[in-house]
Point group: C2
Chain length 495, copies 2
């Protein structure tokens, strides 16, 4: 059995990749389990250097990676070139976070008649399922892989069927770079094929799962993990409808807002998990008309990542209309390859109800616009939305009378609140949070981007009256890894 | 419908407590949801004062609480008096952790072209299911309740059927103390009855569940939560077999080790989730005989918390024998009230296999002893154990040649490793970890005791380009709550 790689612009076949056999999956998992104690015992600054070697290798191979990624995704050379650089930056960033050591949450109690030390220990081999829409940033060496490796966990990646050739190239490139940097074999494995992915989650050696993609895909893996004898954490970051709320005071800027909204919603053909999918604007703001005008001006010619996604855009538009949405504008597909339509759908606030298709994600360049009569109606709609990754609040600036309350309200429903900006674009920094309440993520306290991404892959262990030499280095008296620690409750930061 | 309170020493009825109606559960949940924004916006040092008021009230009511708790649990005045003081200490400790603010993990990025701030926001109303065996420490105002309130979440407790009168008294006492301290109504609710507990977990307003008890109970709640439309985190801390490993070099001390082991295993009639349930000792150490001798010397007369627990001890012994265990010593029950037998069961290492009853918890004064032939057999048995809350490693001191490797191995399987001590007794301190791999807990990265207990009840949110005045105080520029923060990656600790 093979997976076929296609060019989305034409539908032509790029090549075939063999699916992993049962034995190949077992072998990748066994290798990861065998190397797990070595990875865990390796000082984080060494792991940082391993990751930096992979980053260097990505940059050295940039042109070939971009060409291959573009042939499989049609995302374009500019975007993909930036994404290679982003992936390299992420690898270096997570390495720096590991070397900092704060993620270990080391704590030592010396009073109270016993010596107690608490520190994060790596969970063990992690299964990573990357995203279709970020072949590099959330791919084989993307956020999940980089943060798991940084935290000291081996990784087995399941290649994404939308870009199997790129997955294979990335895995080989990363494996070679890791080996050249002195990392042990088995630290990074790749498996191909749907059955291989299921086997991976069921493998007893696998200690956690990272996933980026659709709710259907993420919840399927979550259910499989929950049926294991030893249930493991599944960190699934899933697509949701990210709302944009325009305040009364911001409404006069609607033409400008609509242009920004459409720009964000059609980026990458609308294939962002942070795509703003719903615009809530005050009545009389002519929001739907302005958004439709902006879409016609933008004149997108969306090419989707896969035939199934292209099909789902058309189906999704039909379903939105069947659920009471009114098409305000529709850009017809070009008809080439995996082209898809783009659409602006207007909805009545009263139709935005739990369970309605109007409140479920339509992955692609499709947006829903609704006008609210007053604050009560606006807040009632917000209360009915699913948990989401991000929300944008469009205001008249810091003096906007509705700003503070709306920012607070939205913070209870999403993982990230953006004021006077757009939700697409997720910086990999210390303060980032890319997650959100169920069903945006299966683990609402986790993030898949930013420094705290490492937290997902360590489990705290307390050591009671354990001799110093037997302790993990972060809680040994000499603090050889120089990590921040709570000592008798007082936070000590090494200089 | 009522729940009946019994005196375990005699089986006599202490009294009846009415089960909550459907409407009473709804009302408690609605009150908690209504007060959630107030609790979340209250500065942590004010929440600390609320908790201190409850602590003061516990201490002021100590005698009456001990008498009532003893009538319902037969745990004895000394133990229960200590537990009242412990519960008070915990309330003050979690308040101090809240006031410290480190649990908020505040971070601010000011570079990179955008202002990004990340901080934990309280999840909302938490449902707490306390333990049978710690009516105060893990009861209505125990670890889960105290840490959730400290983190800014209202709590609705489900009264434990083993001590419904005490639960009621504790709830009223805490509610009065909170009101007197100026806390808003609805912050702490109590519901009674099995159906009420299920309704509580299903209530849409409930945002998380804390549970301490059996695997059967915890997993039942976990399944109910996983069937919700919005799945919520369940922090279930469940009973497991906590292993004790005696090294070759420690074997000559077997008589002393056996006495310590029996003391720990029969504490509170063996009704500790951290009870050491399995002793692995070197062949020829006469471990089973020494443990049996120690049990005869201790001469326990166990009275269990409930009739069902007492019955389960006898049944459990039969099942252990049916699974291949050999009874080495059996202390017959006194026959009074909910008395139960105590037993030492010897097992062959080869019979300690996944799925065997010999590797499942027997809640009560029952232990399994096995002798290993060599390090390979010892490690093979360890590899087959379930995840556990704690393990003890008994050594010949820091020079023990097997110590470091065994401490490392055990740290991969449990939440706490104790060297030359016993697992019972869990200090509430900064470095504590009371959790462990599945099935010791449903959330292996969480702890139900210690400073990190608060982490379970906040969810990080990122605020992107949000005006300073609209931000939660911990990430406002002036840092009015004076919490530790990462600013552009650098950890800053207010002095």
């Amino acid at each position: 059995m093979t997976e076929t790689s296609h060019d989305p612009r034409t539908g032509a076949v790029n090549g075939e990749v063999a699916e992993s056999t049962v034995e190949e999956v077992r072998s990748a998992v066994r290798a990861a389990a065998a190397v797990a104690p070595v990875a865990a015992a390796t000082p984080p600054d060494v792991r940082r250097d391993w990751l930096a070697a992979v980053a260097d290798a990505l940059e050295a191979d940039l042109e070939a990676l971009v060409a291959l990624a573009d042939a499989e995704t049609a995302l374009g050379a500019t975007r993909l070139s930036g994404e290679v650089q982003r992936a390299a930056g992420q690898l270096r960033f997570y390495g720096a976070v590991a070397a900092d050591g704060g993620y270990l949450r080391a704590a030592v109690d010396t009073t109270g008649g016993q010596h107690l030390a608490r520190v994060g220990v790596p969970l063990g081999p992690v299964a990573v399922f990357g995203a279709s829409n970020f072949p590099l940033g959330f791919g084989v060496v993307g956020n999940d892989t980089a943060s798991a490796l940084a935290a000291g966990c081996p990784v087995v990646v399941k290649a994404h069927p939308a870009h199997p050739l790129l997955s294979l190239r990335l895995a080989r490139l990363a494996q070679a770079a890791l080996a050249a940097a002195g990392a042990p074999d088995g630290l990074l494995g790749l498996v191909v094929g749907h059955r291989a992915g299921v086997d991976l989650v069921r493998a007893p050696e696998i200690a956690a799962v990272g996933f980026t993609g659709s709710q259907a895909g993420g919840l399927a893996l979550w259910r499989i993990a929950n049926e294991r004898e030893v249930v493991i954490p599944v960190y699934a970051e899933m697509g949701t409808v990210n709302p944009v709320v325009v305040t009364e005071a911001a409404a006069p800027r609607m033409a400008e807002i609509a242009a920004g909204f459409v720009g964000s919603a059609t980026l990458g053909a609308g294939q962002f998990c942070t795509k703003p999918g719903l615009l809530l604007a005050p009545a009389g703001s002519r929001a739907a008309e302005e958004v439709a005008k902006a879409l016609r001006t933008a004149d997108p010619a969306p090419i989707m990542l896969t035939a199934a996604i292209a099909e789902a855009v058309s189906t999704g538009i039909d379903e939105l209309v069947a659920a009471g949405g009114r098409p305000v504008d529709l850009v017809e597909p070009s008809g080439l390859g995996w082209s898809a339509p783009a659409a602006v759908i207007e909805a009545d606030p009263g139709d935005l109800r739990p369970g309605s298709r109007l409140l479920a994600e339509c992955f692609g360049p499709v947006v829903v616009v609704a006008e609210y009569d007053d604050a009560a109606e606006r807040d009632a709609v917000l209360a009915r939305l699913q948990g989401a990754l991000a929300a944008s609040l469009v205001t008249a600036g810091p003096d906007d009378p509705d700003g503070a309350a709306l920012a607070r309200r939205l913070s209870g429903q999403v993982g990230r609140v953006v004021v006077d900006g757009w939700p697409t674009g997720v910086a990999f920094t210390w303060a980032q949070q890319h997650g959100g309440p169920w069903p945006a993520t299966s683990a609402p306290t986790a993030t898949s981007v930013g420094a705290a991404a490492l937290d997902r892959f360590v489990r705290p262990v307390a050591f009671q009256d354990v001799p110093d030499a037997w302790l993990p280095p972060p809680v040994q008296q000499a603090n050889p890894w120089r990590v921040p620690r709570r000592v008798d409750g007082v936070l000590e930061v090494p200089r």
